[in-house]
């Protein structure tokens, strides 16, 4: 393409862009159409008007929306857990392969990311707290042992 041709294309693209701006603004005002540059290609204008009318935004089902909201709330709660009691424990990875990989920037262009690493987007272990749980279990066992020891001792009688 020549420089002149390229310039012409960019000028046309700019005209189209301006028309789309005004068209989408007109939709916000619930107006059917918007004023266009007279030099704008009429076929482009018609196609834009048509797509503005026919490419509607879709909403998923209410059931899906609430299910995902609940799942996100669950994940959010697990992310807050380290700040709660027992947070001194270490986290280790266990099941299930459900959350995205925290080591991969999810917004990176996939072409820049190793496919094997990207596959991790579907498989990240869920971290769980273990140190706090072990401490808690150890205390419980010690408590049970102390109660057993107390019960095995004969009751002391007072010598008065």
């Amino acid at each position: 393409m020549t420089f002149a041709g390229r310039d012409a294309l960019e000028v046309d693209a700019l005209r189209t862009d301006r028309y789309l701006e005004s068209l989408l603004a007109a939709h916000e005002r619930r107006a059917a159409d918007a004023p266009a540059d007279p030099d704008l290609d009429p076929s482009v204008r018609d196609a834009a008007t048509r797509l503005g009318r026919d490419l509607v935004r879709l909403h998923p089902s209410f059931r899906f929306e609430e299910r995902l909201a609940a799942r996100l709330a669950q994940v959010a709660a697990s992310m807050r857990l380290p700040a709660a009691a027992g947070a001194e424990g270490v986290t280790i990875g266990l099941l299930p392969p459900a959350l995205p990989d925290a080591d991969v920037d999810p917004a990176r262009d996939p072409d820049d990311v190793d496919l094997e690493v990207q596959a991790g987007l579907q498989a990240i272990p869920r971290p769980i707290l273990i140190g706090g749980a072990l401490t808690s279990a150890a205390l419980s066992i010690a408590g049970a042992a102390w109660v057993a020891w107390r019960r095995s001792r004969p009751p002391q009688t007072r010598l008065d």
């Binding site: 294309l9 076929s43 797509l51 909403h59 998923p60 925290a102 999810p106 996939p110």
Partner: protein, 208 residues
């Protein structure tokens, strides 16, 4: 609503501070970064947009729901990585969070495609559902026209199709689309212009 703020940009070249617009999602993002439970507000705000993008790309509700779910889970667990980069050129009401979210969505859709090994060449199944709320005769033509328009868009090459969906369905600015697709604004303008010409040609050939 974006909040204008005074910010010094390029102090050497521009001695006076310029008015820049903060990311309109800034308050919500900061709240969610402090407390992940607050992410729900962002989820509700962008659910339909992300879902629509996934649906137009993948062509069926089931895959669109999967991609949407992955997108939001990924955004939530990686929110600490997000850095606001709003620029004056992004325009009033722009959201760099939305750009970031849609980059995740684009990757989620690409992964879904790789897994499914298929492309959305068939007419989108929802066309009758959209144009058919109280089916009366007058709506049949509108439904057919919508299906033809969707077919024309579905036949476009990848980035042209994505640019049109982001522009018309998600009502993104050129700058935002450039951020999502990783192209310059000029390239996006040309992409959309060419896509519209192709759609016009396609519709003319179909006689609709």
């Amino acid at each position: 609503m974006a909040r204008p703020v005074l910010r010094r940009v390029g102090a050497a070249e521009e001695p006076r501070p310029r008015v820049a617009h903060l990311d309109r999602d800034r308050r919500l993002v900061e709240a969610a970064q402090r407390d992940p439970a607050r992410f729900e507000a962002l989820y509700r705000r962008y659910l339909a947009q992300v879902y629509s993008y996934a649906y137009y790309e993948l062509g069926n509700h089931h895959d669109a729901e999967d991609a949407t779910e992955r997108t939001f889970l990924s955004a939530l667990t990686n929110l600490h990585r997000f850095e606001e980069r709003a620029q004056p050129a992004d325009g009033e009401g722009a959201s760099t969070f939305r750009v970031w979210l849609f980059r995740i969505a684009r990757n989620a859709v690409a992964n879904q495609r790789r897994a499914e090994r298929r492309h959305p060449t068939a007419p989108l199944e929802a066309a009758p559902l959209i144009a058919d709320p109280l089916d009366v005769e007058g709506r049949v033509q509108a439904r057919d026209e919508a299906a033809a328009a969707w077919r024309a868009v579905g036949r476009l090459p990848g980035d042209r199709r994505r640019a049109l969906v982001l522009r018309f369905v998600d009502e993104m600015s050129t700058a935002e689309i450039a951020g999502v697709l990783g192209r310059s604004e000029g390239a996006v303008r040309v992409l959309i212009h060419r896509a519209l010409r192709a759609v016009a040609r396609q519709l003319r050939e179909e006689g609709s």
